[in-house]
């Protein structure tokens, strides 16, 4: 179908359709004004665009529904309270890290044992307690959690950290049960099922070992390895 109007110049077409001062710098607006004086096609298009703007801005309003049914919101809130809770849980690890970093910058006491001798006992010791999970894992800044702590009702959490280590921590109070160091980096939290731990090593080694709350993995506890 043949158009009944002239097509505006390609160079200006885009700028003609702007409406607000924010959309175009001042010198561009001046340039357009000058151009409109000489070009009929652009002037016609510009006039039409202005008209469209006017027409669209006074579109008849659709009669809206007066209110949202409040029971919908109530239910939504109920459902999403759970979601918010789990978001909170995953943000804890970040908060811990931050607070520990701050503590580190102020106190030397926290920094020294990490660098010289690991204060963490080799075997899983029952009585070894501390204030929080973060104080164990995040003592040195280069160690950081690779995975968020999942918000699950488990007794023991297995956590991988940036310093090539796996940690088993008691959920209730953050007590370190054992840690396991290896030459490869572990990423994402290991899975635990029926006393077998399935960690993810970054060098694509696959191995499983027997572990539990009291049982610290050692070279004997490898069940399967590839």
């Amino acid at each position: 179908m043949k158009e009944s109007f002239l097509v505006p110049c390609a160079r200006w077409a885009e700028k003609l359709a702007t409406k607000y001062q924010d959309d175009l710098p001042y010198y561009e607006r001046l340039a357009i004004r000058n151009h409109l004086l000489s070009c009929t096609a652009c002037a016609a298009a510009y006039a039409f665009y202005q008209e469209i703007g006017m027409k669209l801005s006074c579109l008849a309003e659709v009669e809206p529904l007066s209110s949202l049914p409040s029971h919908l919101l109530q239910r939504e809130e109920h459902v999403f309270a759970f979601q918010r809770r789990s978001e909170l849980a995953s943000s804890y690890s970040r908060m811990w890290r931050q607070s520990i970093m701050e503590a580190e910058s102020t106190s030397q006491e926290l920094q020294s044992p990490a660098s010289t001798k690991s204060p963490l006992p080799e075997a899983g010791l029952r009585g070894w307690k501390a204030r929080s999970i973060a104080q164990y894992i995040l003592r040195a800044p280069e160690r950081f959690l690779h995975a968020s702590l999942t918000h699950l009702p488990v007794k023991v959490r297995y956590v991988s950290a940036g310093n090539n280590a796996l940690y088993a921590l008691q959920s209730r109070n953050g007590t370190l049960l054992w840690q396991y160091q290896k030459s490869t980096v572990f990423f994402s939290s290991p899975a635990m099922k029926n006393g077998i731990l399935y960690p993810n090593a970054l060098d694509s080694q696959i191995f499983l070992f027997a572990a539990s709350m009291r049982l610290r993995p050692c070279s004997d506890s490898f069940i399967w390895k590839r």
Binding site: K19, Y20, L56, S57, V62, L65
Partner: protein
């Protein structure tokens, strides 16, 4: 060349910014009364925007409800309270575009109102010019592709600047300005076609 700083007729009445932010934060914290204030403030505009997006008043109303429920869910995750309306229109636009896609998938034979063969009844039924013109505008809008339509409506009906549109549609400013201009051009064509069709029919009628 009149460029408005902001169209005074479009932007919703000025409010105390601090109070508005307080209301948004209240809604974010889960206060239903605060959310209701926001709802009352934006409801009519969102409703009309969505109705024009999907080309049907009834669907527009439903989508507005859906949008506000989505907003209620997503509020706790929103970071930038100062740009609440940009964010709100982003959700509304996504809802509308999703709906159009779904409608197409579910009813592949669904036909948007055909611009070239608009039923004659419209022309005969609307004795007043204004009604007719409103119908033209609606059908010309339906003829645009959804992205262009959203850009046009956001610029002219909602009154956002192109930067805000870019933010709310997750596009670059450059592509928004291209979309707006193409949208305008398409709208112009569709509108001219409708007007021509009307004239042709009037001519036919006068010959009879």
């Amino acid at each position: 060349m009149s460029h408005l700083a902001r169209d005074p007729t479009l932007v919703s009445p000025p409010v105390d910014v601090d109070r508005f932010l307080a209301v948004v934060r209240g809604a974010q914290a889960g206060n239903i009364a605060a959310f209701d204030t926001l709802f009352q403030r934006y409801n009519a505009r969102i409703c009309t925007y969505l109705a024009r997006m999907v080309g049907n008043d009834e669907e527009g109303r439903d989508l507005a409800q859906e949008t506000f429920i989505k907003v209620w869910r997503a509020l706790p995750a929103m970071h930038d309270e100062a740009h609440f309306d940009t964010w709100l229109y982003r959700i509304a636009t996504n809802t509308a575009i999703d709906h159009l896609r779904r409608r197409k998938a579910r009813w592949p034979l669904w036909k948007e109102q055909d611009v070239e063969n608009t039923p004659e009844s419209i022309y005969i039924a609307g004795p007043e010019e204004q009604v007719e013109e409103a119908e033209h505008i609606k059908s010309a809008l339906v003829a645009l592709s959804p992205q262009y339509r959203a850009c046009l409506l956001l610029q002219h009906y909602v009154g956002l600047s192109q930067r805000e549109i870019a933010k709310s549609m997750n596009l670059s400013e450059k592509s928004v300005s291209i979309y707006v201009s193409r949208g305008c051009a398409q709208f112009r064509k569709a509108y001219a076609r409708l007007a021509n069709g009307k004239e042709a029919k009037e001519r036919k009628r006068s010959f009879k």
